[in-house]
């Protein structure tokens, strides 16, 4: 089981390094309920560049990944969340895949 986990973790890391897809993390204020998350996810998935979206109420985090070779400008993302009724505090582009972000959120202490 440990070996399997190690392989999966390696694949996730390799995916982050070799992929041309971007992962973008946004810290968001006002993110307190599932309906908030539902609206934000729905909005971000309207971008043709979007491949996946992760929302964490616990971490006040919205992460979006783009398709290979695609990107979404910070201004567009900030406008999308403002238009959804929320406030973006900051935007970061971590060097990891969205699956790694998802795994990290799952492991974060409550």
């Amino acid at each position: 089981m440990k070996i399997l986990k190690a392989i999966l973790a390696t694949l996730l890391v390799c995916g982050a390094v070799t992929s041309n897809a971007a992962t973008i993390e946004m810290e968001v204020n006002g993110l307190v309920c599932a309906f908030c998350a539902q609206g934000i996810e729905k909005k971000l998935r309207t971008f043709p560049e979007t491949s996946d979206v992760v929302v964490s109420l616990e971490e006040r985090l919205v992460a979006v990944s783009t398709k290979e070779g695609k990107d979404i400008a910070d201004d567009e993302l900030r406008r999308a969340l403002t238009d959804a009724g929320y406030t973006v505090v900051n935007i970061q582009r971590p060097d990891e895949s969205i699956d790694a972000v998802r795994a990290r959120l799952k492991e974060s202490p409550r």
């Binding site: 204020n29 006002g30 729905k42 505090v89």
Partner: protein
């Protein structure tokens, strides 16, 4: 640090014609490009259904139906209406959100104390504050026609035993106090509710101090 979002003042003008109400203490606007369908059975005193579409996060509109059955005397009123909801102000705080909603609409009222139908008008407002563990809302609805004038004021206070996340079931314990004017009910109607929601589905279920069921279901998509 907190942020304040104020929708354009021009949109307020769109509300010059005001008119209907929301029985449920849920937000009348869920999210942009979203549809909200709600039904409530209010302890035999009120029955309401609504369907709203929100083109933006600060405006929604749609039809509704509400029926009131008085427990003072045999009086009933029913109103079919078209309503506009407007988010007047929102505070986005790091771990909380607060909102001021106003709404209005026009409808057709019927009842057993007058013949035929009358034009009904409604205005209302709601203030709510919520974190992932605490919730409070105060709402007031005024319904009027040439035959009646009545108000429904609702207070809800809730707490969650655990902080939910997007993918987990949210559980809340809510105390509701509701006051009806206009010969509908004497005294405040208190109810204890359990609220569950996950994804776009929401249900409130509980009982009043009179032992009557209080149920609300809402779906956002």
């Amino acid at each position: 640090m907190f942020s304040l979002i104020r929708p354009s003042a021009g949109a307020c003008a769109a509300l010059a014609f005001v008119g209907a109400s929301a029985a449920a203490s849920a937000k009348p606007i869920a999210f942009a490009n979203g549809t909200t369908v709600m039904a409530e059975y209010g302890a035999g005193t009120m029955l309401e259904g609504q369907a709203f579409y929100a083109p933006t996060y600060w405006l929604s509109t749609g039809p509704g139906y509400v029926r009131f059955n008085s427990d003072i005397q045999y009086v009933n009123r029913e109103i079919a209406y078209l309503r506009v909801n407007y988010l007047a102000k929102r505070w986005n705080l790091p771990s909380a959100q607060a909102n001021v909603f106003v709404w209005g609409g026009l409808g057709s009222a019927a009842g057993n104390t007058f013949d035929g139908t009358r034009l009904a008008r409604n205005v209302g407002a709601q203030f709510d504050y919520e974190t992932r563990r605490v919730y409070a809302s105060v709402k007031s609805d005024l319904w009027e026609s040439s035959e009646f004038s009545q108000r429904v004021d609702t207070l809800q206070l809730g707490f969650a035993p655990y902080a939910h996340d997007y993918s987990t079931l949210a559980t809340w314990f809510v105390i509701q106090g509701r006051d009806y004017t206009g010969q509908i009910r004497h005294g405040v109607e208190w109810a204890a509710l359990i609220r569950l929601f996950k994804g776009g589905a929401w249900i409130d279920a509980g009982v009043t101090t009179d032992g009557k069921p209080q149920i609300m279901a809402m779906f956002n998509f």
